[in-house]
Symmetry: C2
Amino acid sequence: MLLVARTPDLSRLTRKPDRGSSSRALLDALLDDELVGTLATVLDGEPWVVPLLFARDGDRILLHGSTGAGALRHIAEGAAMAFSVTAIDGIVVAESTFDSSANYRSAVVRGRARNLDADERAEALDLLSDRVIPGRTSEVRPSTPKEWAATLAMELPITGSNWTYKERIGGPSDPEGPVDVWCGVVPMRRVAGDPEPAPWSVGDVPPSVQALRDRFA
Amino acid sequence: MLLVARTPDLSRLTRKPDRGSSSRALLDALLDDELVGTLATVLDGEPWVVPLLFARDGDRILLHGSTGAGALRHIAEGAAMAFSVTAIDGIVVAESTFDSSANYRSAVVRGRARNLDADERAEALDLLSDRVIPGRTSEVRPSTPKEWAATLAMELPITGSNWTYKERIGGPSDPEGPVDVWCGVVPMRRVAGDPEPAPWSVGDVPPSVQALRDRFA
């Protein structure tokens, strides 16, 4: 299946940065659709990988983690990294398994992260929070200096040349011969379910949680 | 938020292989729930990462790609790799952004892949196809030797010690003081939509496609 034929990058259709702004708009749309990416770096010569929640803010990707996390400190100290974000939009069912495929959007942003200072960090972490739960920072107490101090925040710049974007869209490609079987696409998406209040929860579902639901309706 | 506090591994609750079979069952459940993982390796000293469709088959992870893909050949030749699979099960909304979090399951399997020979490859690629579209291989023509020849297939063994599994489950942790705001969990899941037939599609939605739908109902 095209799963087979077109991997490892799952790519049929590729747009590169030099294709210009339309491609950057696609990159931004993917980064804004997804909540989690996968960070890869090299630690003691070995590949190291971890999933991270992230947020795009203009021309930067915001990342964060505990100051106790040695590997993330390695990144904060400027180690080369690659950040991978993938959305699976559907399974493409062709007349052969070889030509079957996945519809997907995938980006890799490469470079070195910059460790944010105390002031930048507070702003970045609020941005990250509101990216996942839109407006939540206006519904709850501000984080404390002690909480900020326990946290690393980094930015990975998005430049004109440090990223790739690839996607596969649409139905199966035209068959070479007659087909006697169902072919098509099974669309896939991420959906939010009904919010489940904690025992001590007070009040109705707030706008931030409703916005999160609406984003994944 | 716990997004902040508990990353980079998003981990609150960690089960390691030495916790025994219950942990291995959790690893298998995650690998069987997800369609795509992220492969990381080191290429010319730089981190290299790509999303890949995969299938677990007993104590191995099956991977595949085009023979034209140099980086995947690097893996097939035995380069050290780390394969990361993550499921996002919910967003945890606590009384502070710092204590908010994500419910997730995440595994990293490390090691070196073994390149499968021609006979093993055909079996592995059919397994991969049927893993994504259950039973599709019995509905369509077999793949051809030419198609197999265009494809790399590898297996990454799952041993007693080459993987880690981490998860965060349940609601927000008990607050330290009185709470005056909604707190809880917004569950998240991947859902399949209505199959969209290709213009040349023949017949009804077959059992394989229905099984894919049912898996992501």
